[in-house]
Symmetry: D2
Subunit: 348 residues, 4 copies
């Protein structure tokens, strides 16, 4: 492994105050090779990171002072890599300016995940803010698009639900062992997935001792999942996806039901996944149903498959931490790949 | 409504110390017409109910003293109706003796839910303890089998998951608006569903901040669900059913994916359910995704349907409180039907 | 017991959409003698209660339509009793107008709990909105001020923390068995106590897996506690009170440390409480540490006392459900007392 | 800093399967200088750590195979340092044999925390299993006994509650700014503090939505707290200590009420703590009430002080993660001190 260019280990974070941004701060603070040199925020400009997020007091990162979030200021900072932990629609402008300034952009928002601006408008309700950049962007789950990440200037990290669904399904569809029709994904997320915004729906007393589906009939994440599954299957794939809110802070549990192609068994499917992920540090194929607590605070995705001879279907279970492998951890993993660092740096 | 026979309003509870039994005590304590005259327990014989379950101190029921659980003693008590809140395999013996003594038996266990002793052995692992009684027993969800309950001496209350799945599906299958193949039910239950037994798997620190599937590939409740769906469809129905444990005390959330029969829309399905349940006090058809908290502590089942034109399928959501409509509440509702009382007595 | 005047069983609720208001709706809906004839809300005027609070669909109360909250409209309604579940500072105006219209007012806010408008201004930060009514108001915990409640037109229900602290302490101070100096009360509340307002501090992901003190150095409830303890002790009492937020929906747990007067033992204190509450349906003196779950959803207050010979102090534990005995249940109990109904109506 | 002796960086863990043991595995796995060379367990002998604790699959530590726990085998292993994460009463025998074999013992149990075998017998109910070792043992909280830890062969890590109480109180008592009489500590712990043993009391459905005090009138941890506070004050100190169980996995919140000595203010007390902990990496003096979530998964202790002019007392709040600063983290910190490593190694 060659020594990374110094500029690529200086990083900036825009939008550090949400849950994904906070997790990004935690991961980069203990990253042995990255140095956070700037943090940007509209709300907290002028305050130190330690003041805004008391858990960081005593950590290196705590003394950084928030600069006012502004695309020009982000472009002018000394970091070679800019992480965007911003709402969709807002990230694009920052990305455009930072790219022009020669920076690598790692975007945690949904702005550059879709190849097609029309689909974006359909799902996200508004014209795409920078459609000209869509072609440059790489849809990024390192296990599935590592090579492209290595050279891309604009890395669009996959969403949380989509990561949990694609890691098991993409290799199976590519290998032709899974019927692309009739796939059902029923997923549950911890409440941090809803973000750190004041809203009655996400109050403790509304979410605790409660479980509910939401986002029906078409959650936004469906668009990126279907785009990527279709690409893997070589044909248009439409799936049923039902997200739920579960009373926990973190974790995504996806339960996927699908049909093996004729003559294929669950053992064949498992073999495909074992081979695909044999050397991957963050994907674990399990014998027992995976539990979200086994991946809490980690960048792992745990997957298990179960046969259902009565129906001829297979049940695939997949769990991640929505804030780590589903957001900040994936972004750091992409950063490691892009900067030529060991992929597990700061993550294991 | 005729005055009920006095003996039918004197009731006994066997196995009051589990979560379903405790809920049964709570419901019957405030029931305006039932009188609990005896409670039986192996573990707590000689102690008062108030000592064993401190929440009941100050309630009428608290002063009852547990009699040692023994079939002969149950048969000899003065109650006309006996509720069995016992583990499967144990309930059958009590039922047999109580029936011989002329009592009505309302069983919350799985012992009399299956028509076929072979299926019982297959799913519950052991010969059925009283196969001769299977023909007498009524599989009981009052909304779906009210008439039979009115005269049956042996009422086998449906299980928790099965109730949440059958209430939406049975009328649709009967009406022929749903394809019986390819049904997927992904359900999540609160941890009280696992019962009040000391086991590391159900410790607070194991279940909190965690979500996991279990019971794969064949949860026991699958047997009764398929029996009843097959009966409704008039053909053998095999479904995919995946239960999960969610970090909450109470509640079941079932997410069901199915296909309308040719030419049928979600509006047609909804119409069937609205008509079927038009006069039912405990089933509510919703426009929005139902939330388990809306039914916590109640005997309601809330159901909503969502169209999915992209796949031609329909998503059906159903929620109940596993300890009420999924256990004790359903048992009391059966009791009301059987005793000729207003069906909502003690439940609304 | 004489037949209550019909007008006293027709009741109105103003501000039904918060957590206390919702609990009040639930309790009054199943109250055998009260009839809710009007509900008022600014936010929901024109909508039915069932639309706004889906858990009530199918209940009698669900069909009531919210009238716009306005003191004149409240004064003009046909109810003889008006429950105010409004923020402090807002309740007073409604109370004034409703009282003039001859109605009984049962106020769940803090507006009429203090005898002294100066103390109100000091603790609640603003001039008292209706100081002339303070003299008319009764500070109401039925167990401690039942006689006054029977005839008062303006019943100021005690706060949640204060109820849990006063029920054990007032009788002990009155009996002279407790030293009024040096009392420490460390209390924890479920998050519903913070109300149903959108605020980041009360988001699920902020409160779950977290415990914190707040309201230091002087929580507002301190003012009413000290007023009432001083009255009971016959001298000015200043206590240390530290409220905490605990990750649960409901429940208050108060841990009180105090010193018996010379020569008195924990047995003497216990005797005072046992005698005081011998005939009270909602206070239970326990041998074991009380648990909030034993009172969840009930109007009970459970109390236990423990000796500490090493320090000469006594530890008093007290638990209530903050939304029931700490708010709506207490209000209904007051209503029962005021309307001449059995005190447990709708509560047991 | 001199290079540590190699043998001191090879470590063994006895009793890795409880919650403290698991946390110890996690911390030592990512420790940059320690190498876990052996893990011992009665229950899991022959199984790999990864099999027993699935969260570790893919980590270095996962491939270690449990050796049967046996004092002789522990003594014979190649590690220079042995961590004992065993129940009290069991740890002593292992310690005795390991010490004889020349190993450093870091004990997480209560076996060597008390100086006096009589007090041990009084609080822990049984003769001390190795009283002759009590004199050798160091009661260890590195911030308060660092020098002694550097050379001790037997390091008795302080308990979880005691750490949260002593870190604020010991410096204040030593400085003579706090009255040693009348101290009250009301603490709440997450349920992992109860350990990983199957017991109905710690089931999810028993602990969730519940809060309760326990261990009254004398929790075992009181013995070590009073021993250490007395030592600091130079006189016998008796405090009131009430532990509670709070519905969360991790975290201890201690609320301490005490009286400053004549003429001293909260500012004086704060100054003492700020000076004492000026260079300590793991103690943070806060302005706002500390929250357990700010220390979850960390080795920090956060402390804040609040004045109470109305009573002349001071309220001191202190939070830690019971499994980290209250157990495994403290043990690793002690290890770092003893092995001459940077004290924050593997902890920040």
């Amino acid at each position: 492994m060659s020594t990374p260019s110094p500029s690529l280990t200086k990083v900036a974070i825009v939008g550090a105050s949400g849950y994904s941004g906070e997790e990004l701060c935690a991961l980069l603070d203990r990253h042995p090779m990255a140095e956070v040199t700037a943090v940007f925020s509209r709300q907290y400009a002028g305050q130190s990171l330690g003041e805004v997020m008391p858990r960081f007091t005593g950590h290196k990162i705590a003394s950084l002072v928030f600069t006012e979030a502004d695309p020009a200021k982000v472009a002018a900072c000394d970091a070679g890599v800019v992480f965007l932990a911003l709402p969709h629609g807002v990230a694009a402008e920052y990305a455009a300016v930072a790219l022009k300034a020669g920076k690598i952009v790692i975007d945690l928002s949904a702005d550059f995940r879709l190849r097609d601006a029309v689909v974006y408008a359909d799902y996200y309700g508004g014209e795409h803010p920078a459609p000209e950049l869509l072609r440059e962007a790489i849809y990024a789950i390192p296990e599935l698009s590592r090579e492209a990440i290595k050279t891309s200037p604009l890395i669009a990290c996959a969403g949380c639900y989509p990561t949990s669904i694609q890691l098991p399904l993409i290799p199976l569809l590519k290998a032709g062992v899974l019927v692309p029709e009739g796939i059902v994904a029923s997923s549950a997320s911890g409440v941090s997935g809803a973000g750190k915004k004041a809203a009655v729906d996400y109050l403790y007393a509304e979410c605790n001792e409660n479980m509910r589906a939401y986002g029906l009939p078409r959650h936004r994440h469906l668009s990126e999942v279907e785009q990527q599954l279709s690409h893997a299957a070589g044909e248009k794939v439409a799936i049923t996806f039902i997200p739920h809110l579960s009373p926990m802070n973190r974790g995504i549990h996806s339960t996927i039901v699908a049909t093996p192609t004729s003559g294929k068994t669950v053992a064949d499917l498992k073999k495909v996944l074992l081979e695909t992920y044999a050397n991957e540090p963050f994907v674990r194929i399990r014998e027992q149903p995976p539990e979200t607590k086994h991946v809490t605070g980690t960048n792992f995705c745990d997957i298990a498959l179960f046969d259902e001879p009565r129906t001829g279907r297979v049940v695939i279970l997949s769990v991640i931490d929505n804030l780590v492998k589903g957001a900040a951890g994936q972004a750091v993993q992409c950063f490691n790949v892009r900067a030529g660092l060991p992929e597990t740096s700061g993550l294991l």
